[in-house]
Structures are given as C-alpha cells and as structure tokens.
C-alpha cells in the first residue's frame, strides 16, 4: 500500500514538474492518434453514408465485414501491417517500420472500422424523411448530406470518441509498428507496458492518469454537447 502511495505521489510530481521525457511520450501519443483520427474520419463517414443510403451489390457483406473488424485484436492488426511494412513485405521499400507514420497506419486500421460501423448505425437510425424533406425544400445533394449528418451529430460524436479512446490506449499495434523507441515512437500505452515490466510504476501511473483524464474529459464533452437532448424525460 505504501508503495502504491509513494508511486502515485511521485507520478503526480512528475506530471506537475513538467518531466520532459514524460510529456514527450504524451505528445507523441496525442500526435499519432489525432493524425490517425483526422485522416480516417472523412473517408469513414463517406463509407458509412454509402452503406446507409446507397444500394449496391456487396453492401450487406461490407456492413458485416466492418462490424466483424470491430473485434479484431490490435496485435493482429499490428502483425499484419508489420508483415506488409517489413523489409521483405510489399511496402518494405517505403521504410516506414518503427516510425510514427507506421503507428498512424496501424491506428487508422483500428479506428476506421469503429468509425464506419458506429456512424453507419447512427445514419441507419435517421428518419428517411430527413433526406427527403431537405431535398423537397430545395437543398442540393451536398447540403442534404450535411443536414442528415447534423441530425445524427450525437451518434457521430460518440463514434469519434469511441474510436479515439480505442486507439490512444492500444498497445499491440503501436508496439509492433513503432518499436517503442524513446522520444521517437514511445507513446502512453507502450511506455506504461515497458515501465511496469521494469517495476517502475511512477511513470506508468502518471501516464495512466493522463489517459483517465482524457477519457473523463471526452465523455464530459459528449454529455455537455448533447445537453438536455441526451436525457430521457
């Protein structure tokens, strides 16, 4: 118990003292995950829209595929991309393995199916009349799409949070594709795994606190964003 207390005290002092190594790790984590989300969100929304509104051969298969990909372990995604990006892999010439770019690819592969599946579910739940009403009131296709997206904005925001939460906390893909190199590819989850294996808990606890703070902040933001409309009266 006293070990835990002293490690926690040390963790808090590391955070507030602005420990360069610790904040460097936090910076890499946020940079990689935010880039991955930003690069994924528009293609994922477009895919979800196509799956929800356009009838084409293979649509049902794709919906099932994206739902199935939700449960693929991060380490399997990491392994697959490792084989693709490794020196003898099809994209080995790009020399991306153990770089932040490789980590972004890994996290994109993880968040894309979440964004597609959850956005698709949100769009599926919209009333078809929303689209038709916008059209009959003279809106063009682009404006109608934005109108429908606005109608399901809470569902889309929840998808964004779920995807961000998943990638910023995943270990497997980041470890395999980034290599956990200090000041280069070491992010919060890989650092926690490393420090814990060494028996150094203070840094791990400090980074864990950052992840918890992030989770709480994002969820409070969602609640605030939804306002009273998210409540059942």
């Amino acid at each position: 118990m006293s070990n835990l207390t002293s490690a926690t005290t040390e963790a808090i002092s590391l955070l507030f003292a602005g420990d360069k190594e610790l904040w460097g790790i936090i910076g890499i984590s946020f940079r990689v995950s935010t880039t991955a989300i930003l690069l994924s969100v528009i293609p994922a929304l477009a895919t979800a829209f196509l799956l929800a509104y356009i009838n084409f051969p293979g649509r049902r298969f794709l919906i099932s595929l994206f739902s199935s990909l939700l449960s693929v372990p991060a380490v399997v995604v990491g392994l697959t991309l490792y084989l693709v990006l490794s020196r003898h892999g099809p994209l080995g010439e790009w020399r991306l393995l153990f770089t932040q770019t490789a980590m972004v690819f890994g996290q994109m592969a993880l968040c894309f199916p979440i964004l597609v599946a959850m956005s698709h579910a949100a769009l599926q739940s919209t009333d078809k009349r929303a689209w038709e009403t916008a059209r009959t009131l003279g809106a063009g296709v682009i404006r109608t799409i934005f109108t429908v997206l606005r109608e399901v904005r809470f569902g889309l925001f929840a998808a964004l949070l779920a995807a961000y939460g998943r990638i910023i906390a995943e270990v497997g893909a980041s470890m395999m594709l980034g290599g956990n190199i200090l000041n280069h590819t070491r992010n919060i989850p890989t650092a926690i795994a490393l420090e814990t294996s060494k028996g150094e808990f203070a840094q791990g606890i400090a980074l864990g606190m950052v992840l918890l703070m992030l989770a709480f902040t994002l969820n409070f933001m969602l609640q605030h964003f939804q306002g009273k409309e998210g409540l059942v009266e």
Partner: protein, 235 residues
C-alpha cells in the same frame, strides 16, 4: 401566377415494386389555384404517386410536364424539386428551433431571412413558437410549421399526404384554413387522403387511385358508406 396555367402534368406513369404493379399508366394534371383530392384505399399507391411527382421516387415509365413540354422524370427531376414541395403524412422537422426550420427553406435565397421567417410565423399563426424546439411541438403545430416552411419556398405546387391525419378538430380546422389560403394565393394543391369529407370546402375535383389507375370521380364515398355526387360534395 396564372390561375389557368398547367403547373404539373403526369402521363403514362408506371411503377412496380417487385411483382406488385402500384401505378399503371397513371395520369393527372394540376393547374394554379386548383385543389385536387387523390383518394384511394391504404396501399393504393397515393404516396408513391406523390413522391414521383415531387421528384423523390423514380418511376419505371412516364412523362412529366412542368410547363416545358413532356419530358422524362429523370430530365425534369431538378425542376420538380424546385417547383414542388411535398409534405409527408407526419411532417419531418429538423432538430432545432422552429426558426431554424423556417430558415432552412430560405437558404440560397437572397433576402432578409429573419424577416421572411417572421412573416411565415405570422402567416401560420405560430409567432409564440418561434424559439420552441421543433420536436417538442404537437402534431397540429408541426403540420403548421411544415406548411409555413413549405410556403416560404414559394412553390407552384404543393403535394400533401394525409395532411390532417391524427389531428384533433381545432388543429384540423387551422390546417384547412392555411390550405385555403395557399389555394387563394394561386398554388396548385394535390391532397392524398382516404377520408375526403374534411376537404369538401377546399377541393375542385376528386380523383381515385384504384388498381394502379387514376379515375376522375363522379361520386364521393363517405366513410359511413353513403354516396353523394362530386357536384353535391363540393357544393
């Protein structure tokens, strides 16, 4: 807007859902300032016909004339969406205030949106609901907001699917008053209903959709089983 001008004419419209032929060689004509009822049992194809006329559903066959001669549905779809407003049986109001919904109909138009929206609120007697969340309104209020929103588009034709369904008597009267105003302003109205009686003071003629075809009615059948001629009905 000329009261005699043909605003919308459909001819030879055919629509099939799977093996079921819903519309077969259906035709109708609407002129400005005219109100027609489209009667028929549930599932007769009234909504499908309205959706085709509004440019929301593609027919298998058929021509449409919006004043520029007979053209295929695909070619005049954009004109249909510019000229015609379709109101669902239960109108859809966007998430937001009544004002937000009214302003939606004005986007792309160069005018003082707030002033125009206030005129629409006044027109529909909804001034006190300006800042209310649209989704918290009653069925009758929603219908009036939808009518005011459609009115702001300044369409030539309005297609209404059971516009007074599930309304109590005062709400129905208020909605009928607004429809009467629209007609007096020169709009062509086509109202799909399975209960024509409530529109007796509004309609000029009554059409029936049966087995995919449209017939001009000589008689009107009341829901209690009694029958009157269309002339007596309108009188």
């Amino acid at each position: 807007m000329s009261a005699q001008k043909i605003q919308l004419a459909l001819s030879g419209v055919q629509k099939r859902f799977g093996n079921r032929l819903v519309l077969e060689n259906a035709a109708l004509e609407l002129t400005g300032g005219e109100c027609k009822l489209l009667c028929g049992e549930n599932g007769a194809g009234k909504t499908t016909l309205l959706r085709i006329a509004a440019g929301l559903e593609k027919p298998d066959k058929g021509n449409i004339n919006t004043g520029l001669g007979d053209v295929s549905w695909r070619r005049c779809r954009k004109t249909l969406q510019e000229k015609i407003v379709y109101l669902h049986q239960q109108p859809y109001l966007f998430d937001g205030s009544v004002m937000h919904n009214l302003k939606f109909a004005l986007s792309g138009k160069k005018m003082n949106k707030k002033e125009s929206a206030h005129r629409a609120l006044q027109w529909a007697g909804l001034e006190e609901l300006e800042h209310h969340a649209a989704r918290t309104l009653s069925g009758g209020e929603k219908q009036r907001v939808a009518l005011a929103r459609a009115w702001l588009r300044n369409p030539a034709v309005m297609l209404l699917d059971e516009p007074t369904a599930n309304m109590d008597a005062p709400a129905r009267l208020r909605a009928l008053e607004l429809l009467q105003q629209l007609k007096q302003e020169g709009l062509a109205l086509l109202i799909a209903t399975h209960d024509p009686v409530q529109f007796r003071n509004l309609v000029d003629s009554c059409l029936t959709l049966k087995n995919g075809k449209i017939f001009k009615e000589k008689d009107v059948h009341y829901t209690d089983g009694s029958v009157v001629s269309i002339h007596q009905f309108i009188q």
